[in-house]
């Protein structure tokens, strides 16, 4: 069963095309990640899937249903949503907020159990205004989960959170998935996508430019290692590209990023050149390639870029 199907989806704000011809399928039980920098069209896509924004062209189905029919409410009961930066009412407590959201759904989990599962029991009587960023985000998840959704849609759930808070959120998402839930998540943290997602779609300028599991996408680079150099020596792209196993060379200011299969062949070349010319190598990093490298390779930009 397919949870979400987008076919040639076009979404516009007035004359501005935010999403142009998006194709996407999310299977039930999988965690699907939409990756991309700000402005790539992730949030717009997600809002269309949530039924907040009507498609300008193309088709969109959620659990086999299109939005805008009499069955919208029934469909909404199957969705749990945490929008990007929703600020719940400040003066309500954690328990009151969960209780409010629970009242919208017919079939709900025990409110206390959800609060406990999200580690908010101690804060149950605290007002929202007194919560930390991580606690607020967990509360947003509690409000999304209390209606026992089949599909959880999370728009940048960990943006602005510290690493500990981020890990806590990841655990909750993985637990939801382990119980058979479907997750659609947007993020610009590649680490988050690699950790949580079965498949990712990389968005750039309103389109999906790559689709597959994180491993597949990284595998498509044809190079599993990345060398990042900061050096004062002059090395041309042609020189570096001629080394065996080098897939691509890109530059960001003084920094040279080399995607390659055999770093043991590239690094000696660099250091020899430096020794010969008396240049310094102030930094040389070697790491396995990531989704970030896939993104940079595909678009020439970094995920975190605005």
């Amino acid at each position: 069963m397919t949870a979400i199907i987008c076919r040639d989806l076009v979404l516009k704000y007035a004359e501005l095309v935010a999403v142009s011809g998006l194709n996407l399928e999310v299977e039930t039980g999988e965690c699907f990640g939409l990756l991309g920098p700000n402005g790539a069209g992730k949030t717009t896509t997600v809002e269309a899937i949530e039924g907040l924004k009507a498609p300008h062209a193309g088709s969109l189905e959620v659990f086999g249903q299109v939005w805008g029919t009499r069955r919208d409410r029934a469909l909404r009961k199957r969705l749990g949503v945490a929008l990007q930066e929703t600020r719940l009412p400040d003066k309500l407590t954690v328990r009151e907020s969960v209780r409010l959201f629970a009242s919208f759904y017919g079939n709900t989990s025990s409110q206390e159990e959800v609060i406990g599962r999200l580690g908010l029991t101690e804060k149950a009587t605290a007002r929202v205004e007194r919560l930390s960023g991580g606690q607020k985000q967990r509360l947003a998840l509690a409000c999304a989960l209390v209606g026992k959704p089949d599909l959880l849609i999370l728009d940048e759930p960990t943006t602005g959170l510290d690493p500990t808070a981020r890990l806590a959120i990841w655990d909750i998402i993985l637990e939801f998935k382990a119980m058979g839930g479907t997750v659609l998540i947007t993020t610009h943290y590649m680490e988050e996508a690699e950790r949580l997602c079965d498949r990712v779609g990389i968005m750039h300028a309103g389109r999906v430019v790559a689709l597959g599991s994180p491993q597949e996408l990284i595998g498509q680079l044809g190079a599993d290692q990345v060398i990042e150099l900061e050096a004062s020596l002059e090395l041309s792209d042609a020189e570096l590209g001629s080394i065996e196993g080098v897939r691509s060379v890109s530059r960001r200011g003084d920094r040279v990023v080399i995607l390659c299969r055999f770093p043991a062949k590239v690094l000696p070349f660099v250091f020899e050149a430096a020794a010969r010319t008396g240049a310094t190598v102030s930094e040389a990093k070697l790491h396995p390639s990531t989704l970030e490298d896939v993104f940079v390779h595909l678009t020439g930009r970094r995920l975190a870029d605005g």
């Binding site: 949530e50 039924g51 907040l52 409410r73 029934a74 909404r76 009961k77 969705l79 949503v81 929008l83 990007q84 930066e85 929703t86 600020r87 719940l88 009412p89 400040d90 003066k91 309500l92 009151e96 209780r99 409010l100 959201f101 629970a102 009242s103 919208f104 759904y105 017919g106 007002r127 409000c143 209606g147």
Partner: protein, 355 residues
């Protein structure tokens, strides 16, 4: 399963109840206004008019027991000093006395006829001096004092404050909350739940209703306990009129909030809509004082209708339209009687001379 409507209403109520500034504006501010204005324009009774006497006779007259019943407070001053005090409003009248009080002696009375009490002081002082000069009255005056119920300024003010409060709390309580929820993306968040939009809107109405009862009861009770302003009409009438006011102003607030993105813009629009009503709708003073041509406009304002309905006027069938035919007839007052207040009562002490 808890009803979404009840839960939404409960949430609204708690949000408001826990916001000290909102409580201040709704409960404390009207009371401060009532106390401040009630004291400033309190019934002064027969407060003596201050009359400065100038001339050689002055100390003489001041020293005598004038037997004017306290209507005049006489002081002897130099001419310059007296005129200076008159210009500053410290005295109501300056009398330049002749050398002797005898027939055909000329007496100059200096006063500003537009200043409340001055004309009265002039008449009283003239009366006094005429008698001193030997006039004999040919008629026998028998003053019979009556006191009208609910004739003080505070009796006029309290219903006006109730109206003002209903307007303010509906406009800010609903309009502001909707715009703020939009800004917080809370409206969006609710929109992706199975919540019925009708429930969302109704919850505003219901929570406002709960507060309306509290607000109106509080202010009316305060007026009654502190200033003795009684509800002379029917309580049911008060309730019905308040509900109609609530309906009008929540509608207006929703209209403003429906298309406004920022809280600042909403605040601007809300002030723009409310300010004319604050000034013109007769909350603080009778709008009939404005030129006649403005009356159709003033009467078209919702707060004017609400204030008119809240202010019972047993003598005028025109005011209190909101309640006409509502079946809230009480024994002594017409149907529109809610908070009793005779329409002309403020004339005697709110910026008017009574000549």
């Amino acid at each position: 399963m808890a009803s979404p409507l009840i839960e939404l209403t409960r949430a609204r109520f708690l949000e408001f109840w826990r916001d000290p500034s909102a409580l201040f504006w709704v409960f404390v501010f009207p009371v401060i206004l009532a106390v401040a204005l009630g004291l400033a324009f309190r019934e002064k009774g027969d407060e003596a008019a201050k009359v400065a006497l100038v001339g050689e006779l002055a100390p003489h007259l001041v020293g005598e027991d004038t037997r004017t019943g306290g209507a005049l407070e006489l002081i002897a001053l130099s001419r310059d000093e007296a005129l200076m005090r008159l210009s500053r409003g410290l005295v109501d009248l300056v009398v330049e006395l002749p050398v002797a009080l005898e027939p055909q002696a000329k007496i100059a009375f200096h006063f500003d006829p537009t200043k409340p009490g001055s004309s009265k002081a002039y008449l009283e002082a003239r009366e006094l001096l005429e008698r001193k000069a030997g006039r004999h009255d040919v008629l026998v005056a028998v003053p019979v004092h009556v006191s009208k119920p609910a004739s003080r300024y505070i009796d006029f003010l309290i219903p006006g404050l109730v109206g003002l409060n209903i307007m303010g709390s509906c406009m800010w309580g609903l309009g502001y909350t909707v715009v703020d929820s939009r800004r917080r993306k809370l409206l969006k968040r609710f929109a992706v739940t199975p919540m019925r939009r009708a429930d969302f809107l109704l919850s505003f109405g219901l929570s406002r209703l709960v507060f309306l009862v509290l607000e109106v009861a509080f202010l009316v009770l305060f007026g009654w306990l502190v200033f003795g302003v009684a509800v002379r009409g029917s309580i049911l009438g008060l309730v019905v009129v308040s509900f109609l006011g609530l309906g009008a102003f929540t509608g207006l607030a929703l209209l403003i909030a429906s298309r406004t993105e920022s809280v600042e813009a909403a605040a601007g629009w809300m002030n723009f809509v409310q300010l004319p009503m604050w000034l013109l709708s007769g909350s603080f003073f009778d709008y009939t004082r404005f030129p006649e041509v403005t009356h159709p406009f003033i009467k078209a304002l919702p707060l004017t209708a609400l204030n008119d309905a809240l202010r019972a006027d047993p003598e005028s069938p025109v005011s209190g339209i909101l309640l006409q035919g509502c079946g809230t007839r009480t024994s002594n007052y017409p149907t529109q009687t809610v908070l009793a207040f005779p329409k002309d009562a403020e004339n005697s002490h709110f910026g008017m001379d009574t000549s």
